[in-house]
Symmetry: C2
Subunit: 345 residues, 2 copies
DNA sequence: TTAGAAAATGTAAGCTATTACATTTCCGCC
DNA sequence: GGCGGAAATGTAATAGCTTACATTTTCTAA
């Protein structure tokens, strides 16, 4: 006891070494590490001490082989530099860690092929389950995941497929409600600054929601020009500029996300406009920056953290209980700050 | 022949399935895949056909055990919600993907024990190398990593250990230079709002750098009170409030990072102070928000993305060439915006 | 007490691919 | 035809862990 009892190829301690050191069977050591509740406190302490003394860490390959799973979960997101995903992924990871899992992260940069590659790589590296953002991707990647029995959860959007688990919210109706509120405040001319909608179902639904609100009260939706641009403050500025110098300046610029809205606010202010007296601007997401900007940004609050957490829980239950698809729609609400006001005519 | 001969738990073909299908032993199949020259052409063709028909792909765990390498790299960061790490990790990941590697991410929430757990978990899950933030941690975790032959790179800080690879910058001197600039503008009373320094060498060095600048010109450094707080805008506000209502209001509040500085600016403005006429405020990091806030935040620009990229390159070369420790110090520079001005007395 | 249930622990089979070693097949040549 | 040795192929040990099932210990309640 206390001595290293066995030297293997790698010169690293194995489960058996720990078992010998703690004077228990390998099964008990394994349980200590994986299901500590099933081991008495006494034994557990002895084993963990041996683990510590020998600096034991399980061999990954062996574990993966024996357990037929790795404890690794993947998340493929568009980018980590977007605060909404950063927050969601942070919560996703925290939830996984609480279940003693580890997280892969890869970013797809909104590129469909790159996303597919990232997914395949994660599967090849042993991911037990995968978190995806949005539903928009080639059918064969879904087939691939199905064939290999890798559960997936879609987040930040909702799927129409009954067998696809998701944790999302209603982008369409949230945008519609926000526009409806603006209409009640008397706005009659509009511009929309959106992220690129081609590969991004969330962005698209937000535009469509706003459009629907216009139609609801009989306004021709084509009277609202939509500018699609990149996700950055400067792109928001540029788009806003186009609206401001256009022949008919809108009284409301609705933005598909807060980052674009912040750019729009800055550009409008630089052009000498008062917000919201001269022009109203709204965002979507409610990230930190929405509170920092002056005036405060009226936007749609999305529970990003909760989404990440629920996504992890869903994925865990899919893997562990191989339960049926879970579909979860979270609530959003409008956060009224100062950037949306009544028209002053 | 031609039928799936064996059904296992995973319902995926194994070497044995291929062997049965091709009517050879598993050894021959393995040889076909790894050393085809050692197999007769006849047999080889038959085996490869079976491989194709059954859609066989080698099992990841088994392969990991054999190769003793996974192609997975880990990053343990304090939090993903901090834009500086988000940017760094994004670049880190991009660089890894270019080499066909996959990234683990875990956050430690600035908790030493949690960080240690995350590191051990990543090793247990097969990480070939690990990125760490800062140098502050227990010696035994370094021993553990060394014993297991897991290369590590420290980022966002520099190590005094000759054998420890790092990609960092000089927190101390950057802060010192910023304070020196403030002194040249005539400031004479100071406050410092810092992140908690206990577990955070970067925060500590920034305070020490500012202190050193005071000493450089003979000011008693204890005349600058330091408030330590959490990383959030609201905590920055609260700390700023204490300085403002204190008996001797500083002319300069230096903040250990941009987030605290943004909170400080907002609080000062709410108290009716003009920045920088009544009070100057500086940040550190140069994240997006520094440009958004009004007035623009004078801060220290840190090349976060470059740091992540270089860290990945360093780690890859450590694993692949098992080369010696690489130590890299990146440049920072002061970004002058509007929140630091001359004293008006 | 003690039967019986519950909790703790142990035994050993199994997961998949590699590979040292054993066996079979093939071929050339006397 | 038969022998030696190379080439081809097969057998089975091995890697380090998990886990179903078996056994032992502990606890509960009558």
């Amino acid at each position: 006891m206390g001595l290293k009892t066995n030297i293997n190829k790698r010169n690293l301690p194995t489960l058996e070494d720990v078992a010998l050191d703690a004077n228990v069977s390998t099964a008990t050591v394994s349980r200590c590490l994986n299901e500590p509740d099933k081991v008495s406190i006494d034994t557990r302490e002895r084993v963990l001490e041996a683990v510590k003394r020998l600096q034991y860490a399980p061999n990954f390959g062996a574990r993966a082989i024996a357990a037929n799973r790795t404890g690794i979960f993947g998340a493929v997101i568009p980018t980590m530099e977007n605060a909404i995903f950063a927050r969601g992924i942070e919560a996703f990871q925290k939830t996984l860690v609480a279940s003693n899992k580890t997280m892969f992260v890869a970013s797809s940069a909104y590129d469909r092929d790159l996303e597919e590659l990232q997914i395949r790589t994660m599967v090849a590296r042993g991911a037990d389950g995968i978190l995806l953002i949005g539903t928009e991707r080639n059918a064969d990647i879904y087939d691939f995941l199905k064939e290999r029995n890798i559960p997936t959860v879609v987040a930040w959007a909702r799927s129409t497929n009954k067998d696809q688990s998701f944790v999302g919210f209603d982008n369409f109706n949230a945008a519609r409600q926000l526009m409806t509120k603006a209409l009640e405040l008397g706005h009659q001319s509009f511009g929309f600054i959106s992220a690129h909608t081609k590969m991004n179902d969330r962005a698209r639904e937000r535009v469509l929601g706003a459009t629907a609100a216009l139609q609801d009260i009989g306004i021709d939706p084509t009277s609202m020009p939509v500018i699609e641009t990149e996700y950055s403050i400067d792109c928001g500025r540029e788009a806003c500029r186009k609206f401001i110098i256009g022949k008919r300046r809108p009284t409301l610029i609705m933005c598909g996300n807060d980052v674009l809205a912040v750019g729009a606010i800055q550009e409008a202010q630089d052009a000498g406009l008062n917000i919201p007296q001269d022009i109203s601007i709204t965002g979507f997401d409610d990230i930190e920056i929405a509170k920092v900007i002056s005036p405060g940004l009226t936007t749609v609050h999305v529970p990003h953290g909760e989404m990440g957490q629920k996504a992890a829980e869903t994925l865990l239950s899919l893997v562990e209980d191989s339960s049926r698809a879970t579909q979860l729609t979270l609530d959003t609400h409008i956060v009224e700050r100062k950037s949306l006001g009544p028209t002053s005519f």
